[in-house]
Subunit: 524 residues, 2 copies
């Protein structure tokens, strides 16, 4: 397998854009374009902006979670609405971690406060509990003109950053957090891209290299393509429950030093798409590795509240860093990312998130603050939501019981579904599935018959895309092929969220299992 | 003056970062850092990420609207709160177009619907008018799981894009608009940066050049620095009310062709920071110029509802393009930008906006859709807000009267303040001010005594920064120096919003006038 190349540009993705109604064939379009100009008596010139002269980095960007298969799924949705007959009545989109779209209800307290912030006349309404009103008043007082319609400071509202810092301190048993090191963002994605942008420089062999896990969440590969940074792949060990092995990190960084300047290591814990939860020991080893190799550490910890497996526990990178003593805690440069989109709340649409930076050069921090100021500020409703997430109702407050009941129910259901998924998939010959220790996804390995692989190749598709597309057409279930995340050559996977309601999830798991058996027979 | 160089890096900005508490001096810091490592028995290595090895494009980014002077203003705010005595009791931030922060009240209808969307239990509440409930239901039905907490499609919720298209059609007297050409965004800034990113390619003399007005809104120069594109300056004619002269466009593009590949022209109409409203003739000339020079046209029209001066009218670039006939309407590639942050609603915090693309190559559009999918979707509350802005209450609906009353009051007050600003400033010797025909700012020219210019230079500051900083320290009024937007060499300006409530605005205008006279005397 390839050690350091970017993920092979997913040819299927481009090919499948042709499915889209707007994907006119190039030559035909150019001819139309030119004939029109010629008819107008003008010199023949093509578009100012076309596929050949657009930003080549953008062309290289791929984002499978919303790639060709999802576009086809949307099209099938439309066909169903138009009355086209299919072997199913709805498309189930298990491609993305979108809890509310899968029927999860919003947490009452969060939405009460948001409504109060949006329309403060409701502060006189006795239908709202007192603590929701107090939170809303506090947020509004921190807003310009007491309105969430005012811009906030670019780094985020100060009192919310203070709440975030206190939340981190509590999470990490008292290790201090400075609100000046907190940057609120438009979802964690925004903060991750901003941090990567700061880190990229150099040309040729001096170009910044960024270590990412394979499988990875494709935001990383997409951002690196956009920034023309060098992607350095390190492989998680599927046979050991997707664990991370330091020897593999060493191999990857050593090989990469031949052709780029490795400066960053990105870790996703709990894992996306792989669902593993890292041990404390592993985190310590990664920190030691980052220090030895002089790497900036980016810890994507957006699933920190999504841990289900017995014996597993979330350890924050920051906490482990500080527990390793000043030799590490005063030197290793790090950023940690969190989001309002996952955990028990699943509020993806609000685009709330934050990052905490640790040991960052003060001059670089000034540059970071300047950079984020260009976009003015993260969405204020998302900031308000984040404030509630990091500062939920307390036991002596009226909303506490209901809040805890709702929160616990969501997390318990997720834990049940994590177990169910592993259990059912592992009964199917040809599907092997690691436990879903955390996060919201399963990434099972699928054995594909050689005939299917050949057929896919003949049709110019990667085999797991061929598989997923067939599943979509036959069963109306939308998954993301493993190739969209990266996988060892010759292995095939898909990513599926565990978010559908339990009964629907069972239905989906059964459908996929039946399909897999049928697919295997068809191509044997 | 310089024709094509990027704005001179605003040295004051970097210098003034030193004001910030976190700006430790470099050498001192390095020594500390190294001693610590040496004490730990490790080889001396600096930070993984420092000012010298960070992304050099990011270093070149400047954004004066939230630059050094605003940071100093925030610091003075804190000093006041801590009881430090000043010649004033509050800092008035006239640096940014932030209506709510200046006391403008949110429009009731918008906030009612947003509250209903956030907390749908309120749909049973008889305090809300029926039309607000209908809007909320319609938006929620278009959301995944009927929740604004679900991700939307990356291009934005389909029914909202349809509403945007209908709004554009109505605005442009029936010229058709295709919802597939609408991209919702995280404020107009996001859409502008995305569009510029698509357009940038090439190296050396083939590098993409982008024409922007001087003075400009510094989002443009910041984005071009970030993308390492070539900024091509064209100068607005201050003596003719900041009008745009085609001869100047020709001069700029011709000069630029010597060293880059001009591919884009950006126009801000109504103007920011300059407040002019372009005539229909001028827009036609610009379109003709764009076609002749084979340029992609970016029309920043976020102030389209902010037109105050008699005889002035907003003409959309799209409408003029289509009225020029198929020779233009089928060939000129264009994007137009709009926002929920300005006009009568001023809802900056929600980060809502859209762009409409016209005549864009279908393959490039597929790439654009792919690119925006990496960030998943714009904030859904901002999308909901945009829907209400493009589809406000109709005359037969219960909210209509109140909505119109509120809307009219805001726009009438702005018109009054636009007049007042021009009038008062023009009575001051040494301040000359064009009429504020539209938008939300005045950009008066200030005559500075030579002694002040020399003093500023001796202190390493650009003269208008020196002026604005002194105004801030003495009067507590925060403006943005003209150098942050660009201006003809040897001229000096500042940008001020006209947003403070009328009485406060009068107070601010008087304070600035008095300060200007005092400043002139002090340095004469």
């Amino acid at each position: 397998y390839s050690d350091h190349c970017p993920l092979t540009p997913l040819k299927w993705a481009r090919q499948l854009f042709l499915i889209n109604s707007f994907s006119v064939r190039r030559s035909a379009r150019d001819i139309t374009n030119m004939s029109q100009q010629a008819a107008n008596g003008l010199p023949c010139r093509g578009k100012v902006l076309n596929l050949d002269n657009m930003n080549p980095n953008v062309r290289r960007v791929e984002y499978a979670v919303r790639g060709a298969i999802v576009q086809r799924a949307l099209q099938i949705d439309k066909e169903l609405k138009e009355g086209v007959k299919k072997p199913f009545t709805e498309v189930i989109k298990a491609n993305i971690g979108d809890a509310h779209a899968m029927g999860q209800k919003p947490i009452t307290f969060l939405r009460q406060v948001l409504a109060l912030c949006a329309y403060p006349d409701l502060l006189d309404d006795n239908k709202f509990p007192d603590d929701s009103k107090q939170r809303a008043r506090r947020i509004l007082e921190a807003c310009g003109g007491h309105s969430i319609g005012a811009y906030s400071s670019s780094q985020g509202i100060e009192c919310i950053r203070q709440d975030v810092a206190r939340y981190i301190e509590k999470r990490d048993d008292g290790i201090s957090s400075d609100p000046d090191n907190i940057y609120l963002a438009t979802g964690a994605s925004d903060a991750i891209v901003t941090m990567l942008k700061l880190l990229v420089c150099g040309k040729g062999r001096d170009r910044t290299g960024v270590m990412i896990s394979i499988p990875q969440y494709p935001l990383y590969s997409a951002a690196l393509a956009d920034l023309a940074a060098v992607q350095i792949n390190y492989y998680l060990d599927e046979d050991k429950c997707w664990s991370l092995d330091i020897a593999e990190l060493k191999r990857a960084v050593t090989a990469a030093r031949q052709h780029c300047n490795p400066r960053v290591i990105c870790i996703i814990n709990p894992g996306n798409p792989t669902g593993q939860v890292q041990s404390r020991q592993c985190i310590e080893d990664v920190i030691r590795f980052a220090k030895e190799e002089h790497l900036f550490l980016m810890a994507d910890e957006v699933y920190q509240d999504n841990v289900y497996a017995e014996g597993c526990k979330f350890h924050s990178f920051k906490r482990v860093l500080f527990e390793m003593g000043p030799e590490y805690s005063t030197t290793v440069e790090m950023a940690s990312f969190h989001s309002t989109s996952k955990c028990y709340m699943g509020e993806c649409g609000f685009r709330g998130g934050y990052m905490e930076v640790i040991n960052m050069d003060p001059e670089v921090k000034a540059q970071l603050t300047k950079l984020v100021s260009v976009r003015l500020c993260p969405p204020v409703p998302g900031q308000a939501l984040l404030d509630l997430v990091v500062n939920p109702p307390q036991p002596d407050e009226p909303s506490y019981d209901k809040f805890m009941k709702e929160r616990t129910a969501v997390l318990a259901a997720l834990a049940e579904k994590a177990g169910l998924t592993e259990q059912i998939f592992n009964t199917v010959p040809g599907i092997t599935c690691n436990p879903v220790q955390g996060a919201m996804y399963t990434f099972p390995r699928i054995t594909l018959p050689q005939k299917a692989i050949d057929k896919a190749k003949a049709e110019g598709q990667v085999p797991d895309m061929f598989y997923c597309m067939k599943l979509l057409e036959e069963e109306g279930i939308c998954l993301v092929p493993g190739s969209g995340f990266g996988q060892r050559e010759g292995t095939f996977h898909f990513r599926m969220t565990i978010l559908p309601p339990t009964e629907k999830l069972k239905f989906v798991l059964q459908k996929i299992s039946d399909f897999h058996i049928r697919f295997t027979q068809e191509f044997s």
